[in-house]
């Protein structure tokens, strides 16, 4: 919390200061990120022009980096909405400086994650065939297909997340509009919808946010469940599992939290928000991350134990490749960074700090990306028909696009934080609770 000695004027100045101007360092970093993103766009353009064959996906591994990235980014998107919604619903006071940063991560991660099914399509220009309209082929989309489930689920989640991010921004942009000039004034006025700060507006906003928090929570859980069912509906070794949906949801919250901690630390340092994003906030997030690490370990253990005990040969092929075969280095690195590192750095109170929480989070991000890789690639490399086994190695196109998505995420975040206060001003100002 802000010490009471800081005036609301000071809070406003501190939170609005990052919006003014762009330093040379900011411009340089943003240009670099845009350049990397542009390289990724060029790589995608090359793939569209030449064909999907320029990617490393080959029979039988038809899902490579693109699907790994898809699941990873959808997981990261759970940072905001889920965490923010849970903290809103439970009225956790410490959430206030954290929620907008988290909600922005959700929106941008979803935009990026939602691109991968398109990137993965061989003929992306036909993606509109997924839209349900009476077309010249007299066909409707097949609503029974998990691909359609993804389209519907991600569209719903993206719509909800955008609204969930936008609604609490209205009072802030209305305040910003009082001081802005030029195109910023037009933008803020347009976004403020004529907000005047009346009690009727505040009541409606608070009611809407409570309802949205409940709805978005249910949608977020369903979205990652649907992503899990993309795999679990196939009778493939180590995919056809009943716990896949909750396993994916836990993993999503885990990676989302890690992404949030990393983002918050960067924001804190670069925007000089040390007084607002305090060790207390990071301590709470670190505890949540540790809890999710334990949940993740529990689900991973349960999943692997069941397969091992079942001893079904085709499943054991994949199991063996993961834990002691070709994919063992990735598997044990994953366990190390997803469990051992957080357990030591965050579990021992003396070691727990903003820096260690960030180190553990970076590890978790790596670990969760590896987890998605280990779920997808070994199973496809070792299908039920032994003669059809194959190998996968990503091409430069896939690597370029993957790297570009990280750059795009950072660039979007940088632009957002220049346009809007990354900490919600009206929510941050302490106000008394309802009496009686």
């Amino acid at each position: 919390m802000v010490p009471p000695t800081i005036s609301s004027q000071q809070v406003r100045e501190d939170l609005w200061r990052p919006l003014a101007g762009a330093s040379r360092r900011y411009t340089l970093i943003l240009s670099l990120l845009c350049a990397v993103t542009f390289w990724g766009v060029l790589a995608w353009g090359y793939q569209i022009r030449v064909g999907i064959g320029v990617a490393g996906i080959r029979r039988p591994v038809f899902w490579g980096f693109y699907l790994v990235d898809f699941v990873f980014w959808i997981g990261i998107s759970h940072a905001g909405t889920l965490i923010s919604a849970i903290l809103r619903l439970t009225d956790a006071g410490w959430r206030k400086p954290v929620t907008r940063a988290a909600e922005a991560i959700t929106t941008f991660a979803l935009m990026i994650g939602g691109l991968f099914p398109l990137i993965h399509l061989g003929r992306v220009w036909l993606f509109y065939w997924l839209f349900p309209y009476p077309n010249s082929r007299l066909l409707w989309p097949n609503f029974r297909s998990p691909l359609m489930w993804d389209v519907v689920a991600i569209s719903t989640y993206l719509t909800g997340s955008l609204i969930f991010l936008y609604l609490p921004m209205i009072p802030d942009v209305a305040q910003l509009a009082q001081f802005a000039k030029g195109w910023r004034l037009r933008l803020y006025k347009w976004m403020a919808l004529g907000w005047s700060g009346s009690d009727r507006e505040w009541h409606a906003l608070e009611r809407a946010m409570k309802l949205m928090a409940g709805i978005i929570l249910a949608v977020a859980v369903s979205v990652h469940s649907v992503v899990a069912w993309d795999f679990a509906m196939a009778i493939a070794p180590m995919w056809h599992s009943t716990i896949f949906a909750p396993y994916f949801v836990v993993g999503a919250i885990f990676s989302g939290l890690a992404g949030l901690i990393v983002a918050l630390n960067i924001i804190r340092k670069t925007m000089h928000l040390e007084r607002y994003l305090t060790p207390h906030h990071f301590g709470n997030l670190a505890k949540l991350l540790l809890l999710m690490s334990l949940f993740w370990l529990y689900f991973t253990f349960a999943e692997h134990l069941t397969v091992w005990y079942g001893n079904e040969p085709k499943e054991m092929n994949v199991f063996g490749a993961r834990v002691r075969g070709h994919f063992a280095p990735e598997f044990w690195v994953m366990v190390f960074v997803n469990f051992v590192v957080p357990f030591i750095l965050l579990g021992i109170k003396k070691l727990r700090s903003i820096t260690t929480a960030t180190i553990a989070s970076v590890g978790v991000l790596l670990g969760m990306w590896l987890e998605r890789y280990l779920i997808i690639i070994p199973t496809l490399s070792l299908p039920r028909l032994s003669a059809a086994a194959g190998k996968y190695s990503p091409s430069w196109v896939e690597i370029s696009i993957t790297v570009a998505t990280f750059a795009a995420m950072a660039a979007l975040y940088m632009v957002f934080s220049k346009l809007f206060p990354i900490v919600s001003l009206w929510e941050f100002e302490p106000h008394e609770q309802e009496e009686g």
Partner: protein
């Protein structure tokens, strides 16, 4: 023609007292509006604003559910896939789509109802809006010209500062 006057409070309790006095004097909740740069929660009964948002959201979800069920039922019968003896239309494989569209309906209804209930896009341009100062609570009162003096007295007695007639901004 009605007048608008405003008084500024630094204390929420004083503002609540002014509202109570004004209501005792015959003013309704529709005559009063509180402006602030952060939410101000008064005790129950002071300035309650009824809301049907929750009900609307549930109804929005129900309507969306039936619309999507009807749509999917229609599309699956309009172009019948070979299902190998399984039903053409079944809730199991389409349940996810029903669920997501139902939730989408509730999201959109929440947003729409928020815009409606807050009055954001249906503001009467003839009603003046007072400027908001940080950490201040501004109470706007709609009154008849002959009530101006008594309303001013109530506001001042409750501790309001800068009590004045509110003109429409140029």
């Amino acid at each position: 023609m009605n007048l608008y006057l405003t008084g500024t409070f630094t204390d929420k309790k004083a503002a609540a007292e002014a509202i109570k006095q004004l209501k005792a004097d015959g003013y309704t909740a529709n005559d009063l509006a509180v402006f602030s740069d952060e939410p101000v929660e008064f005790p129950r009964g002071v300035l309650d604003r009824s809301s049907h948002m929750s009900l609307a959201v549930v109804l929005g979800a129900i309507v969306s559910f039936f619309l999507v069920v009807g749509f999917v039922y229609y599309t699956q019968h309009d172009y019948r896939l070979v299902t190998g003896g399984m039903p053409i239309f079944s809730f199991w494989p389409t349940g996810v789509v029903f669920y997501e569209i139902t939730m989408l309906g509730s999201v959109l209804t929440t947003t729409g109802w928020f815009v409606w209930e807050s009055g954001l896009l249906r503001r009467n341009e003839n009603v003046p809006i007072p400027p908001i100062e940080p950490e201040m609570i501004c109470l706007r009162v709609r009154c008849a010209p002959e009530q101006f003096v008594s309303a001013t007295a109530i506001l001042e007695k409750a501790g309001a500062k800068n009590v004045a007639k509110l003109e429409k901004a140029a």
